[in-house]
Each structure stands twice: as C-alpha cells, then as structure tokens.
C-alpha cells in the first residue's frame, strides 16, 4: 500500500517540502507555479475525499469553504497584521503570523462547515449536494456585498507569503490527518456511515456526528488551502471560488476513486497538469485532406469544463470506482 506507513511518509514529505522551500529561488518559476497549484489541489481533493469518499456524503461546496478560508487569512495578514506586528519585525514573526492566518482561515471555514453541515447532514445525500451548492452561491453573494473586502472586484495586494514549503507541508499534513483518521477506531465510523448508515446507527455509531466531524475537518483543510491560494495568487475574488471550482475538486476525487487517498493525490496532480498539456495541444492544428484549412485544435484550450463534464459521465458509466482503483474493496461509489 502506498499510504501504509503514514508517519514515515509525513516525515519524508515534510523533509522534501523544507528542501524545496529553501531552494525555491533557484527553480524555474513556471515549475514552482505548477507545483504550488498541484499542492493546493492535493490539499483540496484529499480533504474533500474525506467527506465525499470515505464518509459517503456529497459536498458540492468545497470552493465555498476555500473562499471563507482565503478571505479570512487575507484579512488577518493584510488588515490585522499592521496593528500587531511592528514594521521591522523579524522574518520569524512574519512566518508565525502567516501560520496564524492560515489556521484562522481553516478555523473559520470549519465553523462555516459546522453551520452548513449541522442542519443538512441529517438528511439524504442529494439534499446535502444542493445545500452545499447553495452555500457556495451564498458565500459568493456575501463576499460580493462586503465592501471592505473589495466587493465583486475582490481583494488584491495580499502579501505573497505562500511558497513550496507551506504548500507541500500542508498537503502532506492533510494526507496524514485524513489517512490516520480513517484508520483510527473513531474514523472507522466514517467508513461504516458510508457503507450502510442504518446498520452503522444500529451498532451504536452516531452517524450524524460522524458526518459532521468529517465535514468540519474537510472544510478546515479547504479553508487552509484557500489561505494558501490567496497568499499565492495575491488576489482573490468571489468568482474564483464559484461552482466550477468546486466541480474541479469533485472531478479530482472521482477520477482518483472515491475513498482512495493515493488515487486522489495522483488525480489531483494529473488534472492540474492536464490544462498545461491541453494548452500546448491547442497550439497545433491537424491537416485534413478534404480542405485546405487545417483543423485547428484551438477550441481544446477553452474546453476544460466540457472535458470535465464528459469525464464525470464517462467515468460513472464505465469506471465508477475511479481510474486509480485496482480491485480495492471498500469505499467506492458502487459499494
């Protein structure tokens, strides 16, 4: 098993992230950019996998929690920092402050998760899908209406604190927490809730509580990822956390195989690289014999959402256990 020894893996991943963080200046900025986005997407997909895969619920609002975390973290480091940090604070202070901003983003997102999850998780899965979808909409409307946070234009000028160390360490920590949690006695309740809610309740598992705990933890990490994203792109707006962003994360979980953390990590990396590959492909055109005009592949460049939708339908029809699930029993869409 790829993730059989989570503690060793966590140590190794942290070491790699420290090393990459230290020599980031010497790497090609393009690769740093792609690697950062892969790390953020792994955090998002693995945390969503805890909700959608392991616990068998279906959240469509992960980008909403990301927005909450992103805005909170940005507020902490932009508006609160000048009041508490002296102008010439040492670098260690700034780092600690960034950590605090990320954690604050995660906590507020987790609280939002509790607020949304508590009423809706008592109900059936498709209601949760709609409520979380609606939550994403409401979040966008709220941030659009808060003028101090930039309204519809969003916040810009967020300090660029995010580097490879933070991104990869967060991703590693998310994977560690999710795998150890699911393999713990308490976390088995999540899997039982997924497999058969009625049977799980009959043997004394508080299924509603399991669902809410999974939801809040997932929302927490989505919030942290949002904070990282804000301090990476230096500007955030409500449109960047819309339904399509949520769907991107859902597709990563489904391609990887619901409940299969290793597969989801792989899928998150692959699907982040995919648009880069598509962009190269879009530059080409195929000569066709019946026409002087070669068939341009330009449309591929903008067709990512179309491709994602076909991936969703095709995978559900042909391979519902995900691309990277080889005969593993347990948490799949079919069971």
């Amino acid at each position: 098993m790829l993730l059989a020894r989570p503690r060793t893996l966590l140590g190794a991943a942290l070491a790699v992230s420290v090393a990459l963080g230290l020599c980031q200046q010497r790497l090609d900025p393009y690769y740093v950019d792609v690697l950062t986005r892969i790390g953020i997407n792994i955090t998002l997909a693995v945390s969503l996998n805890l909700i959608n895969g392991h616990t068998g619920q279906f959240s469509l609002g992960h980008a909403g929690f990301m927005a909450v975390g992103g805005y909170t973290a940005a507020t902490v480091s932009m508006f609160a920092a000048p009041h508490f940090l002296p102008a010439n604070a040492p670098a260690a202070f700034t780092l600690a402050w960034f950590l605090a901003a990320l954690v604050a983003g995660g906590l507020v997102a987790g609280a939002a998760g509790l607020l949304v999850g508590a009423p809706s998780l008592r109900l059936k899965g498709d209601y949760l899908a709609i409520v979380t979808l609606g939550f994403g909409q409401i979040i966008a409307v709220i941030f659009r209406n808060i003028e101090p946070l930039g309204g519809a234009l969003g916040l810009s000028g967020i300090p660029a604190y995010t580097n490879l160390f933070w991104v990869l360490a967060t991703a590693a920590l998310t994977v560690y927490v999710v795998t150890t949690m699911v393999n713990s006695t308490y976390g088995r309740g999540f899997l039982a809730t997924h497999d058969d809610e009625v049977a799980a309740a009959a043997i004394g598992i508080n299924t509603t509580r399991c669902k809410i705990v999974a939801f809040v933890i997932g929302a927490f990490f989505a919030g942290v990822a949002g904070g990282l994203y804000g301090h990476f792109s230096m500007t955030i707006n409500p449109k960047g956390f819309d339904f399509n962003r949520s769907i991107e994360i859902v597709v990563m979980v489904i391609v990887g195989g619901m409940g299969n953390t290793a597969g989801v990590i792989l899928a998150a990396a692959l699907l982040t690289l995919l648009p880069e590959g598509l962009r190269t492909l879009a530059g080409y055109s195929i000569p066709v014999p019946w026409s002087a005009q070669p068939w341009s592949l330009n449309w591929i460049g903008e067709s990512r959402p179309l491709l994602y939708s076909m991936l969703l339908i095709g995978l559900m029809l042909l391979r519902p256990q995900g691309l990277f699930n080889w005969g593993r029993r347990g948490s799949t869409a079919t069971s």
Partner: protein, 296 residues
Amino acid sequence: MTEFFQQLINGLSVGSMYALIALGYTLVYGVLRFINFAHSDVFMVGAFAGMYLGRGLGQASVGGGLLVMLGAMALCAVLGMLIERFAYRPLRNRSKLSVLITAIGMSLFLENAGQLVFGPNPQPFPATFPSRNFDLGQVVISSKDLVVFGVAVVLLAGLQLLVLKTRIGTAMRATAFNPQAASLMGININTVISFTFGLGSALAAAGGILWAYKFPKIDPLMGIAPGLTAFVAAVLGGIGNIPGAALGGLLIGIIETFVKGSPWSTWSEAIAFVLLIIILMFRPAGLLGETQPEKV
C-alpha cells in the same frame, strides 16, 4: 399599496414559471428518487429551441407563439428521454451517488456544449406572442404576465388531470409508490420512467419559452439560477408532490420579487438557499409533503 400589487403580479408571473420547472424535478424525484440536475439545462435548451423556431415564424401571434412553444416542448421531451436512456438508465441499479454525479456531469455537459453550439453571449429572443400593457388605474398588467400565468395554470391543471385520471398517470403513481410491485402488475417501468422524463422536460421547455418571453435575453447559462430556485421551490412544497411544487414555486417567486424590490436587492440570489436551509431544518418534508420513515 399600488407598488405592492405591482410586485405581487410580477411575483405571481415569475413564480408560475418556477412552478413549471419545479414540476419536472418533482416528477422525476417521484419515480426515480434522485435530483435531475440536468433539468435546468433542458430549460435552457427549450429557450434556444424556441428562439430558432421563433425566428422562422416572423410575425408575432397567439397561434404562432403556441406553435413555437409546442415545438420546443416536443424537442425537449425527446432530449429528456435521450438523457434518461443513455445517461441514467444504465446506472439505475447502482448507488444513488453515481446517478447524482452523472446528473451533475450531464448538466455541465449541456451548459458547456451549449456555449460551443449556441455561443456564450446573450442573444435576443424573438417576439413570439404579441404583447401590450393593460392600464388598470395605477397598476399596469403586461400581457406578458397574463400569458405566463395563463399558460402555467393550463399546463398545471393538465398535468394534474393526466396524473390523476389517465392510465399512464396511474402507472406513474404506481411506479412512484413501489416500482417492483408496479412491474409485477404488468406496468412497463422503462416506458413510464421515459414518459416521466419526457413530460418533465416538456414542462421545462415551456418554462424556458415563457422565461425568455418575459426576459428576452437568453444565454447557455440562463438555466442555472432559475433551475436552482425552482428546485428549492420543489423542496419547499414537498418534493414528489405536484400541487406542492406549484405552491412552492408561487411562494418563492413572490418572496424573491419582493426582496428584489426592497433595499436588500443585492442579496436576492441568496434568498432561495437561505429558505432551503430553513425548510430543511424545520420541515424537511416540505409544506405539503409527508415524512416517510426509512425502511430497512
């Protein structure tokens, strides 16, 4: 006071369109127990079908308008049946989650394919029905609102008759009640489900045409917001319940219109979902629905 009546008329007209869309959700939920996410995009396709048919029509007239509407309804009924046949039927015995994901995928597919086929920019919807304003003292009633409300009422009444009085309606209710027992009684479940999808999609198309007639700018993403609101309407009324969907649609249409006319108008998009969360907290079965205990 006049403003109140004006808003009420507006709300009723928007609400009756929500009711038409909500019926599609409710019908499909009734027989298959899942949320057909692609429904709101069938609504969009209906509006575009109406646009292309209406361009060929030329002069606006009542008969022509009805013709365009019937044409779009027929096209969308076929589309709905095709979606059911090729995307949902192969998954019928799989977990609900698979069907839900496929439905979301289908919805995204229609939206993005629509952007490729119809173009992403808003397009003007041709005048199919003639329109004029009736001045009743201080309140102005547009013939648009009358047409929207009238067509919606006729379709709703027709649907209620169909479900309660005809053979296929009885078969639909039997299937909704217990699919296995219904098929043992000689009902062809596949035909009934296919018919339900066709019926729901036709209603969505009618809703789409009316929507485009009242707000004559259409684009491939136009279905998302009304679709979600209509879904909330279906839940508010009690999902699976036909009069409930109509009631929920009207209520939400009126509430939304009043919020849009108030100082909190920028929050109107969030209203439906706030309502949804409140309903789910206090009365998850909806206003007219019955709570069903879960059987093991």
